[in-house]
């Protein structure tokens, strides 16, 4: 069947960023320089052509744009300023909005106002909520667990986490549908679950190492920075959840489950306040510094517009960096003020800290920029599953 040329879809893509695909005259320089390109699958040139023709189905069901880490070599070599790297970025935004069933992602990506309003709205709402629920904390000494009642904080955190995870699961389901079964005429093909389980390691490996990025020859430093950022997030956010869990288990074993939950949700545990030079603390400091460094570096880069990656910043790029930066700075200040025993300063910065965290997770991780952290390794995982499954007898997948 012939593909219809669809100028409307070309215009749709345009809304997600700089769609300069029409500038491309298919010299293939990008394909020559891109480590992702193979003889069978020319990348990113093939996708440039899809974008030009408005081949919606081809783009919708593709995992390839997720493999690109935007090293920018294609862009540096492009004689037509068609910015293939940027077009792949645009496609990733489009795909993120496509996977999101609520349509909020689409709204956030295609409307600058919506993006800023959503961020500001969540920020203010959290702030107001914090001041509504706060109460009873001493102004003499810092009692952070009393400023926002501990159980509310923990329950809020768990609800937010579960909500995000649930929503993300639905999105991943959609992503899976597009990549694994989209655009095929033979209908749905069931790949045995064993293949999925067998290849789970691929997902974990790519999620943790981001090894694919290290294959981009000219951006080793960016790979290192990006990985540092990732590790920083793992340390900091893993910290909260991981130690909470440890605490509950420990107390439960010691004094029964009710006490455990009580300690975790109401009183807090004195064991969790590690001394300043405790290895866990040090790791936490290192992570904070790493994230802060990368965030500042990225902000400066985006402002300077020197690197291809930084030349066409989308509003979602700015808000995400600002939210991460805000979260880290306020978290750090909270920690300092708390240790200096400055109650009011601690409370205010903590309120701000929470107000940054909520939009960072909701807008960033679920609907826009940050979602790539999960979609990227998943795309690699799905491709690997497909590849493995294709070797099974009677699997018509491609």
């Amino acid at each position: 069947m012939a593909t219809k040329v669809n100028p409307d879809f070309t215009r749709t893509l345009q809304k997600f960023g700089a769609n300069t695909a029409t500038y491309c005259f298919h010299c293939g320089n990008c394909t020559v320089v891109c480590p992702l390109s193979t003889d069978e699958n020319q990348f990113p040139r093939r996708f440039m052509r899809y974008a030009q023709l408005g081949m919606e189905d081809k783009i919708k069901n593709a995992a390839e744009p997720w493999l690109c880490y935007f090293c920018g070599d294609c862009q540096r070599l492009c004689p037509r300023q068609a910015n293939p790297g940027e077009v792949m970025m645009t496609m990733r935004r489009y795909l993120t909005s496509l996977y999101d069933w609520t349509g909020l992602s689409l709204k956030l990506y295609t409307s600058k106002t919506s993006e800023w309003l959503a961020v500001a709205g969540l920020f203010l709402a959290t702030l107001i909520l914090v001041f509504l629920v706060q109460g009873g904390a001493s102004t003499e000494h810092t009692e952070l667990h009393r400023f926002v009642p501990r159980y509310l904080l923990q329950i809020g955190g768990i609800l937010l986490g579960l909500g995000l995870a649930g929503m993300l699961a639905l999105n991943i389901r959609r992503m899976h549908g597009f990549i694994m079964n989209g655009g095929r005429q033979s209908g749905y093909v069931k790949i045995p679950a064993s293949v999925y389980i067998k290849e789970l390691g691929t997902f974990l490996y790519h999620f943790l190492t981001q090894n694919r990025f290290s294959q981009c020859p000219t951006s080793r430093t960016r790979y290192i920075k990006h990985w540092l950022l990732f590790l920083g997030f793992i340390v900091l956010f893993g910290y909260a959840g991981f130690f909470l869990l440890i605490e509950i288990i420990k107390e439960s074993l010691h004094a029964g489950i009710v006490t455990g939950l009580k300690v975790a949700f109401v009183t807090g545990s004195p064991h969790l306040l590690f001394p300043a030079l405790h290895p866990i603390r040090l790791l936490e400091y290192a992570a904070t510094i790493a994230i802060l460094y990368v965030v500042i570096d990225s902000l400066a880069g985006r402002a300077a517009k020197k690197e291809p990656l930084h030349q066409n910043s989308h509003p979602t790029d700015w808000t995400f960096l600002l939210l991460v930066g805000g979260t880290i700075v306020t978290g750090l200040l909270t920690h300092i003020f708390r240790n200096l025993d400055l109650p009011l300063a601690t409370y205010y910065t903590f309120a701000l800290h929470l107000s940054f965290i909520v939009p960072m997770f909701v807008v960033g991780a679920l609907f826009t920029k940050w979602a790539h952290a999960i979609y990227r390794p998943l795309a690699l995982y799905f491709l690997k599953v497909k590849e493995t499954a294709a070797k099974l007898p009677q699997m018509d997948l491609f």
Binding site: A2, T3, V5, P7, T10, T22, Y23, F25, L53
Partner: protein, 745 residues
């Protein structure tokens, strides 16, 4: 004839060390009884030249034989004025550089080459330039008043000469004046500007040196360069006559007839139009859908509509890509949201037009490199089906309001019935089997120039009806001396190229007039002031000369006597080679001179086992190739004796008879490549030579000689590395055949 001949042997560049110059001196002094035979270690130095000049002045020397380097170098150094004949004997490149030093055979070669040089000067006379009785006209006739014609006329006028423009239509400007916009030739090269031809028309019409005939056509052109008479019929009635020196053909091209493109939807749908149709629409105002007059929301351009298609126009029309890019921008600038597609086979946007292509991409025009483009119509509009080469998939573009076919261009010289020059006489004559026939000249009865030439009324076409001569070596030249083609009639080209082309042709026309006035030939023998003379009392009216002249220089009277037009002649001497009666000769080049050179070669006895091979070479390609063999120090067979000719077209069969009768074992001819992409400076010299040789086989057989003794090979200047092999192989064959039985007779 030279009265007093002197020989100078240069011993520099290693010649003195490699050869026995004393023996060489003896050849000139004893065999040819020359009084002045000198050797000098550095003949091209000031002292050496002064030596020769002194002999010219004090001893009355008027024929100088210089044995040293190749005649292709130091030409200016060894020029002693029009009154002194100079012959260069190539002892360096073609002797010591490609043969072993101090060798008996090398010495014999050098001596034979010297003998030939002396004999040649003996036969030559100083040419007297041709001066017509009437005064040479300095006016240039420009046929066609479009961009090329106006530009050429303006250039001629700016050079201080008069120009006459003859334009068929009632206004000047031609096709370019019909355009809505043209692509800017200034940075950033992406703007569309009003056609600047309007200014040119005004300038031409106001110029006192330019006379314009509008609504006029050429009824007849007679005469020859410098003395052409053009008879111009005017629509208003009456005929004007203009005496002109040279002619520029600038009648342009017309669009290919789209009614032949029904497979692309033309004629089937009102919304399928041509480039010209869109241009006209844009000029009128809004670009609309012809079927209902609504503004166009989507359009597709189909390039190479007819061009590069063996069924229609086999060639690229050069401008359709750019015209379509420009028109795509018309639509985008009328409506930036319009979907505009370009379907192409190959997109050619040379030079700064690349910026226009880029601009079109930036404004959102989408390009398809496609095959099998089909156009249909359904309820929603036009539909294009094509195979997208890049995604290797069939694609469909639907709901199109307009499809524009970029039709190619057909030169005006190709309009009219196709004729073969001299076909009526050749008819009935049946060529014998195995004979090679030269390709006949083809021209079209386009009613443009109406030349009074024996070989047809219009210019012969090179390919596809374009009256070009040779697209690499000789731009603007046609196969008629003094007539230069410029602009799209010569080859498809865009506006800037046309302007350059017309300027070049104007320069060529002026050069032609000035050289003619001096009695010299035009390109490629500009220095040559010799011309042919015919010993008419021996003419048998066989017409070989009038048929074979590549430039139509020889007309015929009713009794088939040749009527030679010296200023049409390029001095290739093809007529001299063609004439079986050998009545045609030049003062410094004749059948007798070359024949004497052949006879001057010493042929050793059979038992000496030294065969001799005469290598007759074209001086334009094969001779420099042989020089290059020397420069690269590649060894050649010692049996060869090289004789350069103006063109292999001047090769007369009698020389082969002379050579074989003398006991020479073989004759090898090295000429230029012929065929569609010929290399011959005189269009078909080597082709005609091949044709003549194909007839000699019979004669050789009659003389009980093996026809293998004569061979012709095609050599390009760049083939120098192949030449030694060609010669080696031929020499081997000659050894196989054995010695010439006529040796010693």
């Amino acid at each position: 004839m030279a009265n007093k001949i002197a020989t100078y042997i240069c011993t520099g560049c290693g010649i003195g060390e490699a050869l026995n110059t004393e023996a060489l001196t003896n050849v000139a002094a004893k065999e040819y009884k020359l009084e002045i035979v000198r050797t000098h270690p550095f003949l091209c130095g000031a002292e050496g030249v002064a030596l020769i000049k002194e002999d010219i002045q004090t001893a009355g020397v008027d024929g100088v034989v210089i044995a040293g380097c190749s005649p292709r170098v130091n030409t200016d150094v060894f020029n002693f004025g029009d009154e002194v004949l100079v012959e260069r004997v190539n002892l360096r490149e073609q002797c010591i550089w490609c043969h072993p030093a101090n060798d008996e055979d090398t010495q014999m070669l050098a001596e034979d080459q010297l003998r030939m040089g002396i004999v040649k000067v003996k036969g030559m006379s100083v040419p007297t330039p041709y001066q017509p009785e009437e005064e040479v006209s300095r006016t240039v006739l420009v046929v066609g008043g479009g961009l090329a014609g106006i530009t050429a006329a303006l250039e001629v006028a700016k050079a201080g000469r008069k120009a006459v423009i003859v334009e068929k239509n009632d206004a000047l400007g031609g096709w370019v004046a019909q355009l809505y916009k043209q692509v800017s030739v200034r940075p950033p090269y992406t703007e569309l500007e009003d056609p600047e031809i309007r200014e040119r028309i005004k300038e031409a019409e106001a110029n006192p040196n330019i006379k314009v005939y509008k609504g006029a056509q050429i009824e007849k052109i007679s005469g020859q360069p410098g003395l052409f008479d053009a008879y111009i019929t005017q629509k208003s009635g009456g005929t004007a006559t203009e005496r002109v020196g040279a002619i520029i053909l600038a009648t342009g091209a017309v669009s290919y007839d789209a009614s032949k493109l029904e497979h692309l939807g033309f004629g089937r749908s009102a919304n399928v139009i041509t480039t010209d149709g869109l241009e006209e629409m844009a000029k009128r105002g809004k670009i609309i859908r012809p079927s209902d007059g609504k503004e166009v929301q989507s359009a597709a351009f189909v390039l190479c509509a007819g061009s590069r298609d063996p069924e229609h126009l086999p060639y690229c029309s050069a401008t359709c890509c750019i015209d379509s890019l420009k028109q795509a921008l018309y639509i985008k600038r009328q409506n930036p949201n319009a979907a505009v597609y370009v379907f192409f086979k190959d997109l050619r946007a040379p030079g700064f037009h690349e910026y226009l292509y880029q601009q079109a991409q930036k404004e959102g025009v989408i390009f398809f490199r496609s095959d099998n483009t089909r156009i249909e119509e359904n309820g929603k509009g036009l539909v294009i089906h094509a195979k997208d080469v890049l995604v290797n998939d069939n694609i469909v573009a639907e709901g199109l309001d307009l499809v524009v076919l970029a039709t190619g261009m057909v030169p005006t010289a190709a309009l009219g019935e196709m004729l073969v020059a001299g076909a009526e006489e050749e008819e009935g004559k049946k060529e014998g089997e195995g004979f090679f026939s030269p390709k006949p000249d083809i021209y079209f009865e386009s009613n443009i120039l109406n030349l009074e030439y024996r070989q047809g009324k219009e210019l012969p076409s090179l390919k596809y009806g374009f009256p070009d001569s040779h697209f690499i070596c000789f731009p603007y030249e046609t196969r008629r001396t003094g007539i230069y083609a410029a602009g799209t009639v010569r080859a498809p080209m865009d506006i800037p190229t046309t302007i350059r082309d017309a300027t070049g042709a104007a320069l060529k026309a002026i050069q032609c007039i000035e050289l003619t006035a001096k009695g010299m030939a035009v390109h490629p023998r500009v220095w040559d002031s010799s011309y042919a003379s015919f010993r008419m009392e021996q003419c048998t009216q066989c017409k070989r000369c009038t048929v074979e002249c590549p430039f139509g220089a020889i007309n015929e009277d009713e009794k088939a006597n040749p009527l030679y037009n010296p200023t049409r002649c390029r001095r290739c001497a093809t007529c001299m080679g063609a004439c079986p009666q050998r009545i045609i000769s030049f003062q410094n080049y004749s059948v007798v001179i070359i024949g004497d050179m052949v006879k001057a070669i010493e042929v050793p006895e059979e038992d000496e086992e030294k065969p001799r091979i005469v290598v007759i070479v074209c001086e334009n390609d094969a001779y420099p190739a042989l020089d290059m063999v020397g420069m690269n120090r590649i060894n050649l067979s010692p049996w060869i004796r090289i004789i350069p000719l103006r063109c292999l077209g001047s090769m007369n069969l009698v020389w082969i008879a002379d050579a074989l009768a003398k006991g020479i074992d073989g004759v090898l001819l090295l000429g230029c490549k012929h065929g569609d992409d010929y290399q011959c400076h005189f269009v078909k010299g080597s082709e005609l030579c091949t044709y003549r040789l194909s007839k000699i086989k019979e004669t050789l057989d009659r003389l009980a000689l093996e026809s293998d003794r004569v061979r012709i090979e095609q050599v390009q200047i760049s083939d120098y590395n192949l030449v030694p092999e060609i010669i080696k192989e031929f020499a081997a064959r000659i050894e196989e055949v054995g010695p010439n039985p006529y040796k010693g007779f």
